[in-house]
């Protein structure tokens, strides 16, 4: 059961051969001990797309062994930065070549609009791979002056080793590239567990690895359930580092498993309940556009979604009216249509988001727009804005991960900062103001790994990204992302000191 299946994209008629096996040592193989499969579903139609092999803990063992062998023989210190760069640039070229096809597959499995998948998800991913390809031959240590007559001390920035990488379903291709790129640039080998909800593009991208010419075992892809493959990677004694993007709940489990097994290094990109603050001097039209983007992009399925909006009282009425218009103008539908947003990714997410909407209603928040289910097929959630919220409400405290916004009022800058920081999360934050000093003060005070000033959501591959507080550990992107995959060795080389004995 490792043969490819042919999938037809209904909207375009394109036929795509999707591998269904586990990708280990540059081959697609069946599970070594299990007949379990994973069914992938189209969230716009609720229909099954295809079944793929579900990896078991034993398959993870095989993949880790393959990655370890490659690390010791054809990758790691056995390959030059120059060669890693060359292969990664080739991969980026191939991703670019296949962008249209990959976008259609992404939309089929995840639901996002196909032009967004192509121009943003894949466009950014290609640039991410190229960005890190450029770092591969620029990894330098330091020479450190100790004593010129007797000793040379220097550091080497070595690759950590075999890395387990666990990625989510909200930006399958983009999250895949954020993980593989810095790891490969540093010289690490990878066992990747894509989300069981959206594994298809990860499998298709694995084919490009063969075409680009990477040695076998450098990347291994094992779709499986989190509780199976994810757990196996986190507790594996021969995995040197695990990198995870997903919920805070799961992130805790991974860190615990790492601590209990071999103290593997852990980096986590977790949830958020990011505050978006609108001050009275802001350009209201622009701020409304950014605020709408902040909660509605990707149907709100974004770890940095600006899901708590704080509006200064002097502009509250005007701004919320504007914002509701923006929300209603957003066209949501089948990703292959002319739309700005698609369905949420699965039945489970759909039920979850709706239960939050119900809780918002039952805890007494007012609905400004949305909040009504659509009839018919597809996991659609229309933009929903709650006002008159209180800090204690579930919709204000907990991450919803859908297009659901909670809006509150504030009077002073100090109050806004206090409200914004009143969360256990710390991933993103945004503020809109034309007062430069205020921008500096507030961006300094906000407890978030990324603060947007007069913008939201826009990331760049060379600027780091990650969470404070319970939103995560470590940083992705930029040179900082590269450092997460390095292990520093200090070498003390004595060439002149003689040791007397007894000491």
């Amino acid at each position: 059961m490792a043969q490819p299946v042919e999938i037809t994209i209904p909207a375009t008629g394109r036929k795509i051969a999707v591998p269904t096996g586990l990708f280990i040592n540059n081959e697609f193989v069946p599970s070594v001990d299990s007949k379990d499969t994973i069914q992938t579903v189209n969230p716009a139609t609720e229909e099954v797309i295809c079944s793929i092999v579900a990896g078991s803990a034993a398959d993870i063992d095989v993949a880790v062994a393959a990655a370890r062998k490659a690390f010791n023989t054809t990758w790691g210190k056995n390959v030059t930065g120059f060669e890693r760069s060359r292969l990664m640039n080739k991969l980026a070229d191939l991703m670019e070549r296949d962008a249209e096809m990959l976008a259609e597959l992404e939309t089929l499995n995840n639901g996002k609009p196909v032009r967004v998948a192509r121009d943003f998800d894949i466009g950014d991913s290609v640039q991410c791979v190229r960005y890190y390809a450029g770092w591969a031959d620029k990894i330098t240590g330091q020479t450190i002056e100790v004593d010129n007559k007797t000793k040379v001390a220097f550091t080497r920035h070595e690759p950590i080793g075999v890395c387990g990488q666990i990625i989510p379903w909200n930006y399958p291709i983009n999250m895949w590239s954020w993980k593989i790129a810095p790891a490969l640039a540093a010289g690490c080998t990878i066992v990747m567990k894509p989300s069981e909800i959206t594994p298809l593009t990860a499998l298709k991208l694995s084919e490009l690895f063969i075409e680009a010419g990477f040695p076998p075992g450098v990347l291994n892809t094992v779709p499986s359930l989190g509780s199976v493959g994810g757990a196996a990677l986190s507790s594996h004694l021969d995995v040197d580092k695990v990198a995870f993007t997903g919920s805070t709940v799961t992130g805790r489990k991974i860190m615990e498993a790492a601590a209990k097994s071999n103290l593997k290094k852990v980096s986590l990109e977790l949830g958020g309940k990011s505050p978006h603050v609108i001050f009275e001097s802001a350009d209201l039209e622009q701020a409304a556009n950014w605020a709408a983007l902040g909660i509605l992009y990707n149907s709100g399925q974004d770890c940095t979604a600006g899901s708590r909006l704080f509006v200064q009282d002097t502009i509250y009425e005007k701004f919320t009216t504007l914002l509701a218009e923006k929300a209603r103008a957003m066209k949501i539908g089948d990703g292959f249509g002319d739309v700005s947003g698609g369905p949420v990714v699965s039945k489970a997410q759909y039920d979850r988001v709706w239960s939050y909407i119900e809780s918002g209603k039952s805890e007494g928040a007012k609905i400004l727009t949305g909040g009504e289910k659509r009839p018919g097929k597809g996991y659609y959630v229309d933009p929903t804005i709650f006002t008159d919220v209180k800090p204690s409400m579930k919709i204000v405290r907990e991450e919803i991960f859908g297009p659901v916004l909670a809006v509150a009022k504030f009077k002073t800058e100090e109050e806004a900062i206090e409200l914004a920081n009143d969360t256990s999360y710390g991933l993103g934050a945004g503020l809109h103001s034309n007062d430069a000093n205020q921008c500096m003060r507030v961006s300094s005070a906000l407890e978030a790994g990324t603060v947007w000033v007069n913008q939201y959501n826009m990331l760049n591959n060379n600027v780091p990204f990650g969470g404070k507080k319970q939103s995560g550990i470590g940083r992705e992107l930029g040179s900082y992302g590269l450092e997460e995959y390095m292990s520093i060795k200090a070498v003390h080389w004595n060439f002149g000191e003689k040791l007397d004995w007894p000491f």
Binding site: F82, G134, W135, D137, K138, N437, N462, S479, F495
Partner: protein, 500 residues
């Protein structure tokens, strides 16, 4: 209208056609020089004319600077994201790689190095260098510096602007790449003068630069003489930085001119008389092989050539015997012969100069141990030459010869050898051969040279900086270090609360 030059290669190692415009490349177009000058490009294997090309003067430099300034202000500099600059450099590297054989053939025709060396060493290194710098374009970050909570202080790495670049004839394409890479990555625009002796690969590159998508005016290439175009670049009030690789003599003039005009920033890669120190406990076979590469690579026409070969007494005789054998076995021939190691020197002037040093060596009483004469009857071929029994004061020991002439010197005292090695106004490179790591490191650390090779010689990588101590130069090329040459650091202090 400047003409198109077409050359048919029909050789044992390469068959193909190369065709390119011979004009000045300014503002994205090929134009004649304002004063209608031309330059004769000579084939060093036979002294015959290959073609004439357009030659520029100060007037053309002025036009080019204006085009470069316009590009910098509108479509280059910080008007374009680093990732985009990097992408264009990546495309250029791809195009150069596609045209590897053609570029190698042109380089061999024009410079005289063999096609094999040109292809596997020069062109490969050039492609690697451009690719390396394409990766830096979006990574040259400034710093945020903490002072107190009332201030945000940060630095910006801004491109300098229009830069002038003057390159030599010994590695024409490679020197072009070392200059283009970091300058374009940081966002500078360029007015570049190739050597009047070896302009062909630079001219061929103009079309590749266009095809890669660099906007007009970003790269301008003006062939001409040092005394006209080079001088004009060094003097120009709107060029804020000049980078020069060539002789120490000319380097001084450029620095002087820069000082007298607009104090433009100057980086210089100049000459060398690099010592190669071979201890008794060296792996003698390896030392011989590297020593041959050290002085005979590129016909000795390398600024970092290991031209003073110091051999410790214990292995001197054996070393000299094997070194001479190897040197004698080097095949001299036409650059397009499949098994030639060495072609002609680049020009009549260089040939005369080297032969002059050889005569002086003989006159001053050194022993001419090998070679010392012309090879064949036409072209500028000189046989690999070895002198022994020299005195430190001899011209062949003090001065840079820039030809296939090695001086082998016996030494005994391990402490004194370092003084001897450092006893030169130059400080570009050095090599050390020993199996004792303590000796190797200690020697390396005491040598006054910008690059020290241990148990190797003449190894260059785009990631590792290269440049001179003392009169061998100012500044470093290659590696991250080269970016600083094309960067103006601006510190920004944002006051958030200090009241005056």
């Amino acid at each position: 209208m400047p003409s198109t030059f077409t050359y048919e290669f029909n050789t044992p190692v390469y068959k193909g056609t190369s065709s390119f415009n011979t004009g000045l490349f300014i503002g994205g177009k090929f134009v004649d020089g304002q004063e209608g000058e031309t330059i004769d490009v000579i084939n060093p294997t036979n002294g015959k004319l290959i073609t004439k090309i357009s030659g520029g003067t100060a007037k053309d430099v002025d036009i080019a600077v204006n085009a470069a300034q316009k590009a910098f202000d509108t479509v280059w500099g910080l008007n374009i994201a680093g990732a985009q600059r990097g992408k264009l450099l990546g495309k250029l590297a791809d195009l150069m790689e596609e045209h590897t054989d053609e570029l190698a053939a042109l380089e061999a025709l024009d410079n005289g190095k063999t096609f094999g060396w040109a292809k596997n060493s020069d062109v490969a290194a050039s492609v690697g260098c451009i690719r390396y710098y394409s990766g830096w374009a979006d990574k040259h970050s400034g710093k945020v510096i903490e002072t107190d909570e009332n201030k945000l202080a940060y630095t910006r790495n801004e491109p300098i602007g229009v830069v002038g670049q003057i390159i030599p004839w010994n590695f024409p394409l490679m020197m072009l790449s070392w200059k283009l890479g970091p300058a374009l990555a940081t966002g500078c625009t360029i007015v570049l003068k190739p050597s009047e002796f070896t302009p062909l690969t630079a001219l061929r590159m103009c079309e590749l630069i266009q095809r890669a998508g660099f906007p007009p005016g970003v790269v301008n290439i003006i062939n001409g003489f040092g005394s006209s175009v080079g001088q004009a670049i060094a003097e120009h009030p709107k060029i804020e930085k000049v980078a020069f690789t060539g002789s120490t003599l000319v380097g001084r003039k450029i620095m002087e001119t820069a000082a007298k005009t607009n104090l433009k920033k100057v980086t210089l890669e100049l000459g060398g008389k690099s010592p190669n120190i071979i201890y008794d406990d060296a792996d003698i076979e390896q030392a011989v092989n590297w020593a041959v590469h050290g002085i005979f690579w590129n016909h000795g026409q390398a600024c970092c050539a290991g031209s003073r070969i110091f051999v410790q007494k214990g292995i001197y005789d054996e070393f000299l015997k094997r070194f001479t054998e190897k040197a004698r076995s080097l095949k001299i021939g036409d650059p397009f012969d499949a098994d030639a190691y060495q072609g002609p020197q680049v020009s009549q002037i260089q040939y005369d100069r080297i032969m002059g040093y050889i005569s002086s060596g003989v006159e001053q009483g050194a022993t001419l141990h090998l070679g010392g004469e012309r090879h064949g009857n036409e072209g500028y071929f000189i046989k690999p030459t070895i002198f022994t029994d020299t005195k430190p004061s001899m011209k062949i020991v003090q001065e840079e010869i820039f030809g296939p002439v090695g001086v082998v010197i016996k030494f005994t005292d391990e402490d004194d050898i370092i003084h001897q090695a450092n006893d030169t106004m130059y400080g570009l490179a050095a090599a050390v051969f020993t199996q004792n790591i303590n000796t190797a490191l200690e020697t390396a650390h005491r040598l006054h040279a910008g690059t020290v090779w241990i148990n190797c010689a003449n190894q260059l990588h785009p990631q590792i900086p290269f440049g001179g101590f003392k009169q061998s130069g100012i500044g470093r090329e290659l590696g991250e270090y080269a970016l600083a040459n094309y960067t103006n650091v601006k510190a920004v202090h944002v006051n958030l609360g200090h009241k005056m």
